[in-house]
């Protein structure tokens, strides 16, 4: 399954993407969003999209993330076929979905399934912020809730990597209610004694931050990740005050007692393995 994805990725690499035009120079080279230095794209990818120079953690696709964590060939994907509808007949929503499906090669903003981390079974859900900014609509909520339920039924831990701008506006109250749906699922998992590890990556805000992302037995974050409920601009407008540079970063959340630990990407697999092992 991962093999499929890689062949797909190669196919995409030569197609100019709008997203790429804005963020980084297209092609062989990539500019670090931390130190602004130019690197070989390949070199950066080999380093898990972490800048070899300054350690800046760049966004990672869901499948790259899964590949970096799970034992080779162990991943079995769930509910890959689920697609979003346009329940409110919201203007231009279908077009935006189609564009993101084409751009990312995935059907929605989360990939779910199960696999092994150094031989230890786990369910996993990984959000992909390239798809509608990782926003949560009906399908994201449904896939996450089903993954949690599967974990409970199969007595397996679940690890969820979040990357989301929040609830998806175009599905209105249905998006809002996915916060409830996922949280009720988490409650059932906890009630059954199941283990849930939440890892917040850049960005984890709004409705995702205010639902399952904050409900792990352990809540972790990647270095520098933006984590918070309200957006910086809205807060600044409301309190008429400039916010500190590090506001709502993973390190800020750690300092304020809101997360358990900041885990660099290169240590992720090792630490997750230890935690899974301790809960065996």
């Amino acid at each position: 399954m991962l093999k499929d994805f890689f062949s797909k990725k190669k196919k995409y690499a030569s197609i100019p993407r709008e997203e790429a035009k804005q963020d980084v120079p297209e092609g062989l080279m990539q500019k670090c969003q931390g130190c602004q230095k130019i690197f070989y794209r390949k070199e950066m990818a080999k380093n898990l999209n972490v800048c070899p120079e300054c350690g800046h953690h760049h966004q990672m696709s869901a499948y790259d993330r899964i590949e970096s964590l799970l034992d080779y060939g162990s991943f079995i994907e769930w509910d890959k076929h689920l697609l979003s509808n346009n329940p409110l007949a919201f203007p231009d929503y279908e077009k935006k979905l189609e564009k993101d499906i084409e751009k990312t090669g995935i059907n929605e903003a989360v990939v779910t399934g199960k696999g092994k981390v150094n031989g230890l079974d786990t369910a996993i859900a990984v959000m992909d912020s390239r798809f509608r900014m990782g926003s949560m609509g009906s399908v994201v909520g449904e896939k996450v809730a089903r993954a949690i339920e599967n974990a409970r039924i199969e007595s397996m831990p679940i690890i969820i990597f979040t990357a989301s701008g929040g609830a998806r506006m175009q599905e209105g109250a249905l998006s809002l209610m996915q916060m409830s749906k996922t949280s009720v699922a988490i409650q059932r998992l906890h009630n059954a004694g199941g283990l849930f590890i939440s890892v917040m990556t850049n960005p984890t805000t709004g409705g995702v931050s205010a639902s399952f992302a904050s409900l792990g037995d352990y809540n972790f974050a990647e270095p520098g990740a933006l984590i918070g409920f309200a957006g910086r601009r809205i807060i600044e407008q409301t309190i008429r005050e400039k916010l500190p540079e590090d506001f709502q970063t993973a390190e800020f959340q750690l300092k304020h007692g809101q997360i358990d630990k900041v885990i660099p990407r290169h240590d992720m697999k090792r630490i997750l393995t230890t935690i899974l092992d301790i809960h065996q």
């Binding site: 076929h81 449904e142 209610m177 409650q187 205010a210 918070g228 809101q258």
Partner: protein, 321 residues
């Protein structure tokens, strides 16, 4: 000074005209009763036309009306023996949420709701009904207590949203909301939520993971404010009217989306026109709702709660891969 809503202006103008003619009749010998009668008939029709065809944006205006009844008004009208309790035991007391115990039809309950002010002074005290984490944690503390003493929980939802502030973020606004969503899922007692004004996003939802969710006819429930959506979509918050329609935020929309259970009718022109009548309308729905839930065994109640939230959403699931 009564707040006049934009869409009501034709009604107000016509009413003023009628009053003027009546005054002339009293002050002089002219008999204008025929004219007055015609105008009064026209007013009746106009009121029916306007209030019978409220647009989403009109309802937003009613939901935000400064005189709109608040949680404390309904507590007073619906319950007896209400005692308010304070504080989250961790940081402070957030007065944008009120919480306490009372009796409803003789049955002990816990009641919790967002609390707006009706004037500037009250609004400052109540932070315009926008809670900090300590508000949600106070609510959670009281819900746990209700669970311990086997009291049903009734919540009133009325907030623009959780407060977007620096301190709120530092103290874990996300965690406070998320925890309430999760914990509410597991309480063994009947839970009923009524949206009475604005249901603003996660900050509203944090009191709203209940067995039954009802909405007053002119209340709204939305993932984002119409102004916020307009700013994101069209870079223009003045397009809020359009956004209010696209977002499907009225009680009728939410009923159709199968998010809520009952629409509670409002007196013509809105709840603020007749708070007692509004309370009677609420009483009727609440009574039936609680009666239904009281009869369900705990295990089934929890299973039904899960079923309720599990089915919300609109998904395209092709039968074959």
């Amino acid at each position: 000074m009564k707040q006049v809503l934009e869409f009501e202006k034709p009604i107000i103008e016509l009413r003023e005209k009628i009053d003027e003619l009546k005054k002339i009749t009293v002050d002089s010998d002219f008999d204008l009763s025929k004219e007055i009668n015609t105008l009064e008939q026209r007013l009746e029709k106009l009121e029916g036309d306007i209030y019978g065809n409220l647009k989403p944006w009109d309802r937003v205006q009613i939901a935000r009306h400064t005189d709109r009844p608040t949680t404390l008004d309904y507590i007073e009208n619906l319950f007896t023996d209400f005692i308010e309790f304070h504080g989250d035991r961790l940081f402070g007391d957030d007065e944008s949420i009120v919480s306490g115990i009372a009796k409803y039809e003789g049955q002990p309950i816990t009641v919790i709701g967002h609390q707006r002010g009706k004037n500037t002074k009250e609004n400052i005290r109540r932070n315009f009904g926008s809670p900090h984490p300590e508000g949600y944690r106070k609510a959670l503390r009281h819900m746990k207590q209700a669970n311990k003493f086997n009291r049903p929980i009734v919540t009133f939802i009325d907030t623009k949203g959780a407060y977007p502030g620096k301190a709120a973020e530092e103290r874990g606004q996300s965690e406070a909301i998320a925890r309430n969503l999760m914990e509410m899922a597991g309480f063994n007692v009947p839970m009923i939520s009524i949206v009475i004004g604005e249901g603003g996003s996660g900050g509203a939802l944090a009191l709203g993971v209940s067995d039954h969710i009802h909405m007053l006819e002119n209340s709204t429930y939305s993932v984002i404010s119409p102004e916020g959506a307009a700013a994101l979509l069209w870079k223009d918050s003045k397009q809020a009217q359009k956004a209010a329609e696209s977002l499907k935020i009225t009680s009728y929309d939410l009923k159709e989306l199968k998010v809520i259970d009952e629409i509670i009718p409002e007196p013509r022109g809105g709840a603020h026109r007749d708070v007692l009548l509004q309370s009677q309308f609420m009483d009727k729905v609440l009574k039936e709702s609680l009666k239904q839930l009281n009869e369900i065994k705990t295990e089934e109640l929890l299973e039904k709660r899960w079923e309720k939230y599990k089915q919300i959403g609109d998904i395209n699931e092709p039968s074959s891969l």
